[in-house]
Amino acid sequence: MNNSETLLAIENLRVSFRTYGGSVRAVRGISMSIGTGECLAVVGESGCGKSVTAQTILKLIQGPSAEIDGSIRFEGQELLNLSEREMKAIRGSKIGMIFQDPMTSLDPTMQVGKQLVEGIREHYRRIRSKEARKRVVEVFGRVGIPEPERQLKRYSYEFSGGMRQRAAIAMAVVCHPKLLIADEPTTALDVTTQAQILGLIHNLKEEMGTAILLITHDMGVVSNMADRIAVFYAGQVVEVGEAEDIFYSPAHPYTVALLRSRPRLDLDRKQCLVSIPGTPPDLFAPPPGCAFAARCGSALEICRIKQPRAFELRKGHETACWLYHEKAGAKHGYPTRERLEEGRCHDF
């Protein structure tokens, strides 16, 4: 943790969904925190619980089928105990959210400008429409929508993908939230548009001091944005640390494999692509030991039996992997950065 104060603290969060086929344990004991003005990136594959975590923060996951347990404290306030009405006051004004698909997060039957004005007036009843519209024009300009005044009256389907995502970002930041949750904000976009949107989110963070929870599956996307990174696997945090720790001295075999499973543009073509055999575990019946053990080349006997606790490698860099237990490490060797950069394939 940087010496900034904690804005959001998640403690042992568990979310499961009851279905006809049994209970899916989507999030299985996640703890993490975000400091004021900090960018925490959550990286993981689909089904690892990253989006469920994000939606639970805003209490978008509710209802009889979901069981939520644990604690989410925002500015010291426990969110899980709040009523729907109290939650409404937080959504949009203190915590904003950008969704993956801007086509579905904007109302197609409503003018884009109106949607933003609605958001402002919901939180600040005393602001007049005219005043609110002025603010919308200003925020449209800020997110790089050309001719903002003209765009207010248009509908989302008249916008291109990049423009829609800009409008969605404008909607998320129009009330100056302290925390912005961006759930795969660029996955649906082309690379050139992705670069524009990432640059925009980066600037908003610098200018407005907004803390960001950036959710993605792409290590490249986070490399320029994240202060800290949490790697998710099968509903748990397997490794968390400063961005530099994760990129240059990844500890968990899954993190190492994730970094090596994508070819890098800046490296020579002879680089080897690590493929992780198998598929993530079934969360209806998660394995008793480490969730990654079945796919891990360095798995020990204990990995299949008992869940690893988090081992602290240095301040702020933790990993949940038995290889870092004092009795294991010396014998088996760590998947270190040196091994990573040698560029040879390990049998992960």
Binding site: Q194, D218, G220, V221, N224, R264, L265, S275, T279
Partner: protein
């Protein structure tokens, strides 16, 4: 995995004109869609390229640039509005019925979305066997054995033949799609974004599988993708498209090391690198705006509106592809 790297592309194969023995070749390929209201959407507008046997050509560009349309036209899913396709030196338009049939067997396709490209009501065995039946390659016991062999080849079990697609994960479905395309013993496969719908850890499995199969079966690939780092890894030669035309083509290493067209440069600099220190030190040329509509594209260079360097000539005259160094062609007035 050992990676095949001695290239079938000889440096100096002038790829737009004549590669020595092109396996498949497109000459001035055009595909227009007539839209309601009489306007014309020029999805592919005069594409020429060739792929030698056993080669892998990458086709990259942003969405809407016509790369998937090109792939579909090449395997005969669309009838070209103009230009020719040569398969093993023969114009596919001039083939007789048997020849046509043979071409459709030899040219296969792997689709982007493994969820919508498999019929949910057919068993995996029938999905794979359909092509075998149509081309009357095997029957009875032999057919079943062939299906099991194919499943094995793509890393699935023979028990999977009796299951339905919904019982499989995305990566496994893509393996089924690959087995289906291999069932008719093709020599040329168009891979249309075969990995973009998959998770990161599964993507590398599929890519490694495709490369292994290429080596085993001497396949020729056209690899369509918007993922430039993956294309760099897989392809020997890369063609960059923008709004239906080729803007640059070169051997893979050369294109990534010394891109010439401003669009290629911008595309490459937009890709994030998973290395924070390098990423911070990078100089970016960010493109403004989005790809304009391919309906009535602007006169002159199609990229001129977004090009940071565009001059007067760019908005007036359409640039032609010129060979800058052996095998490296670019369509830009300013290079």
């Amino acid at each position: 995995m050992a990676i095949r790297r001695e290239s079938v592309w000889k440096r100096g194969d002038a790829m737009i004109s004549e590669a020595v023995h092109p396996f498949i070749e497109a000459r001035d390929l055009k595909l227009y869609f007539h839209l309601a209201g009489g306007s014309l959407l020029k999805a592919v507008d005069g594409l020429s390229f060739s792929i030698p046997a056993g080669g892998t050509m990458g086709l990259v560009g942003e969405s809407g640039c016509g790369k998937s349309t090109t792939g579909r036209t090449l395997v005969g899913l669309y009838h070209p509005s103009g230009g020719q396709i040569f398969f093993k030196g023969q114009d596919i338009e001039t083939l007789d019925r048997t020849g046509q049939r043979e071409f459709t067997r030899q040219a296969q396709m792997i689709f982007q979305d493994p969820y919508s490209s498999l019929d949910p009501r057919m068993t995996v065995g029938d999905i794979i066997g359909e092509g075998i039946d149509i081309h009357r390659l095997y029957s009875g016991r032999m057919r079943m054995e062939r299906i099991w062999e194919l499943l094995n080849m793509v890393g699935l079990d023979k028990e999977h033949a009796n299951r339905f697609p919904h019982e499989f994960s995305g990566g496994q479905r893509q393996r089924i799609g690959i087995a289906r395309s291999l069932a008719v013993e093709p020599s040329f496969i168009v891979c249309d974004e075969p990995i973009s719908a998959l998770d990161v850890s599964i993507q590398s499995q599929i890519v490694n599988l495709l490369m292994k199969l290429q080596q085993q079966l001497q396949l020729t690939y056209l690899f369509i993708s918007h993922d430039l780092s993956m294309v760099k890894y897989i392809c020997d030669r890369v063609v960059v498209m923008y709004l239906g035309v080729i803007v640059e083509a070169a051997l893979s290493d050369e294109l990534y090391q010394s891109p010439l067209h401003p669009y290629t440069k911008a595309l490459l600099s937009a890709i994030p690198i998973a290395d924070p220190r390098k990423e911070r030190a990078r100089q970016r040329t960010l493109l403004q705006g989005d790809v304009p509509s391919p309906i009535d594209p602007p006169p002159g260079c199609r990229f001129a509106l977004r090009c940071p360097l565009s001059a007067k000539i760019c908005r007036e005259e359409t640039p032609c592809l010129r060979e800058i160094s052996p095998g490296h062609v670019v369509a830009c007035h300013l290079v």
